[in-house]
């Protein structure tokens, strides 16, 4: 398993993996760790961290447990991050593959379309989409997907464009394989590693975007999220620093972990001598 060995040699990536596993565990076990709803007041308001051992990270102005909020917030972050990325990757790969493989008019049209989306600031666009379609977990996920596919489309197009002229693809045409078959069995498997690396980094970006949306008050009203917690703590900055510091650290660590994993994947999948010398 040279791939896993190469990945495991990267300490940063291993650290990232460890942090991510921890976050995923906490998200999965949230109802067991914190049986009460994170919206429920459980203690006195404004308890500082370690003031009351039952609430190691303190409570907010309504006496809600910050630790419980973090655990439930992890669910939203991971869910939105993964699902929106999956949707964006499907859109991006489809459009990019078609544009790159068929070229010509189809390429022009699809790339112009992609450019439109890139001219509009991604985050502003996401804000508008979520606000217009009323904020809930579905609209947030879709909005993030809609603003994040263009880079994937460009990447996949570039990969398909260069792979299409490679000799093994020409050989597949010569032996009589059809276009769709060539795209799926010859080109896509060779384009998959950059797609995976990009996707992993997109999950991180999506988590950042989701938290920014909830920070602006555009989160799902029924689900506790890290961005919302920081947004709510904004006016309490002077009184209760812990309300905003801990959720921020949670975002930072999660995103950092995913970025580290993405870089590890990149290094492991693209050892320097990839290609002809490999």
């Amino acid at each position: 398993m040279p791939f896993f060995l190469r990945f495991a040699r990267n300490y940063g990536a291993l650290l990232g993996l460890a942090i991510l596993v921890l976050v995923v565990m906490v998200a999965l076990l949230a109802p067991l760790l914190f049986p009460a709803s994170p919206w429920q007041s459980v203690g006195d308001p404004f308890l500082a961290p370690s003031e009351d051992p039952s609430y190691p990270l303190g409570t907010d102005m309504l006496g809600r447990d910050i630790a419980a909020g973090l655990a439930y917030g992890a669910r939203v972050s991971l869910l939105v991050g993964v699902v929106s990325t999956a949707v964006a990757v499907v859109i991006g790969v489809t459009l990019g593959a078609l544009a790159g493989f068929y070229g010509g008019r189809a390429d022009d049209l699809l790339m112009r379309f992609t450019e439109f989306f890139q001219t509009i600031p991604a985050f502003a666009m996401a804000v508008v989409l979520v606000a217009i379609f009323s904020p809930n977990i579905v609209s947030i996920t879709l909005a993030i997907a809609v603003v994040s596919w263009p880079p994937v489309a460009r990447l996949v197009r570039a990969e398909f464009l260069s792979l299409r002229s490679r000799e093994f693809v020409q050989a597949a045409i010569v032996v009589g394989q059809t276009g769709p078959r060539i795209m799926l069995t010859q080109i896509l498997p060779n384009a998959i590693s950059p797609i995976i690396v990009t996707a992993s980094l997109m999950v991180a970006t999506a988590i950042l975007t989701e938290s920014s949306l909830s920070f602006l008050g555009l989160g799902d009203r029924n689900m506790m999220s890290w961005g919302f917690m920081i947004g709510a703590a904004r006016t309490m900055l002077r009184e209760a620093w812990w309300m905003s510091v801990f959720p921020g650290v949670a975002i930072l660590l999660t995103v950092l972990a995913i970025n580290l994993i993405g870089e590890g994947l990149n290094d492991a999948m693209n050892p320097h001598l990839r290609g002809r010398k490999g």
């Binding site: 000799e167 020409q170 032996v175 009589g176 010859q186 498997p189």
Partner: protein
Amino acid sequence: MEMPRAPLLSVQNLTIPLPVGLDRRYAVETISYDLHAGEILCVVGESGSGKSMTANAVMGLLPSYLKPSSGRILFRGRDLLTMSEPELERERGRSVAMVFQEPLSALNPLMTVRDQIAEVMEVHGEGDAMTRDQRVLDLLNYVGLPDPQILRDAYPFRLSGGQRQRVMIAMALALEPAMLIADEPTTALDVTTQAQILELIRRIQRAKGMGVMFVTHDFGVVADIADRVVVMERGLVVEQGTADEVLNRPKHPYTRRLIAAVPHREAHAVRAATGKEPLLEVKDLRKIYRSGGGFFSKPRVVNAVNNISFTLRRGETLGIVGESGSGKSTLGRCILKLTDVDGGQVLFRGRDVVPLSAGAFRPMRKHMQMIFQDPFASLNPRQTIGRILTDGPVANGVPYNQAEARARELLDLVGLDASAFDRYPHEFSGGQRQRVGIARALALEPELLVADESVSALDVSVQAQVLELLQDLQRRLDLAIIFITHDLRVAAQICDRIAVMYRGEIVENGPPEQIFDAPRHAYTQRLIAAIPGREWNPRAAVIDLKEKQR
């Protein structure tokens, strides 16, 4: 006066270890050779022989993971390996200069020719801005570049490959170094350009009395310019001597094998292919490339293939020979409908395939197959050899079991082990991969093979084996082959007829004897005259070896 002269450069017992985990321990192992002032020493070997390694070691340009572990490199008596970086910097460019293989990537794309040449003098504190400018002009003139006044302000991308290499040489000559290292300086160039650059290097070397270390893989080039020769194999010097000794009376078996494999015109019997029906008829084929163009300017039009006609019969090999940009590869791609055609007919068994749609042509593809140039790029790295060989037949409706059985037969036919079926391309060498590429083409039992530079990327000994395989298969299967190549020597060795392409047109067409001995067209004459090592007969050098094989 020859006697007690100390060598300019003396490599003594040099050993450079490779990082652990590679197929051998040393890049070069206890190698020794001398270079004298006023001579051209050719270091010759196949890929992986370590021939470029010493050149880089002399310049201190080895990558950081390669460090010489023992030995000395004496330049004018001083060991370069013990010099500090600033000391080396003073020597580089001033006493030792280097010319590289790829003149485009070796030049800074964002700096003018003038600035790049002047920089050598500038960093060595030579002259002032005025004198340096004059020197740049002189140098450009000296290496035979046209309009130096204009050309010195050009960026490298504006120049042709030959012009770029002349710029590199001008840069190397700026401070009149005592030694020039040339690392495959003509490999990336067309054959006529190569002849000019070789001529230039020889002229300069004579005029300046420089010592030149010339690294190459091509024995033809060696025959043209070498005074002395060092032959390397897998990190070892296996033979060295004067050019005459090594080329005409080689002693080491490896040298003899290499020389025996150098492509050369064989006096082969013309095969009786003339009586048969034509399998392929190409009539007035045209392909035009258009590029650029906008509101104000007309698009640039290149007639890549211009009114080309020929016929090909079963069992016959037609060589298409030309330099880069001649349209020879485009012609091959047009015949196989890998690109659109702008006019003319391609009659396969009497049926014109040009007007057919992609879908209508697909069932005919199995009759016309292709062998590609790059053995590394032509096999999908994510598929097993078995998958690569069966994909074609399966796409053409052959049941998988049958395709698999056939694929195993084919592996045997092209001389590969049956276990190759389940392995991936990266586990094979270049020559083995090219055999897989041939097997893939044969899997569909074609009648026509288009081989596009199919042996160009291979080392000469592997090249000889693959050529032999192709010839053998052709005889057995009665294939018609279109053999596209830039190398006239290879074409002469295996083709029944040769068509010479120049700027999209076939300028001359005939049997090898005619093309070689009585070329009519001026371009063909130039091409023939430029073949490296024309005066040398490699077959005579190893005549006993050839006889033993028979």
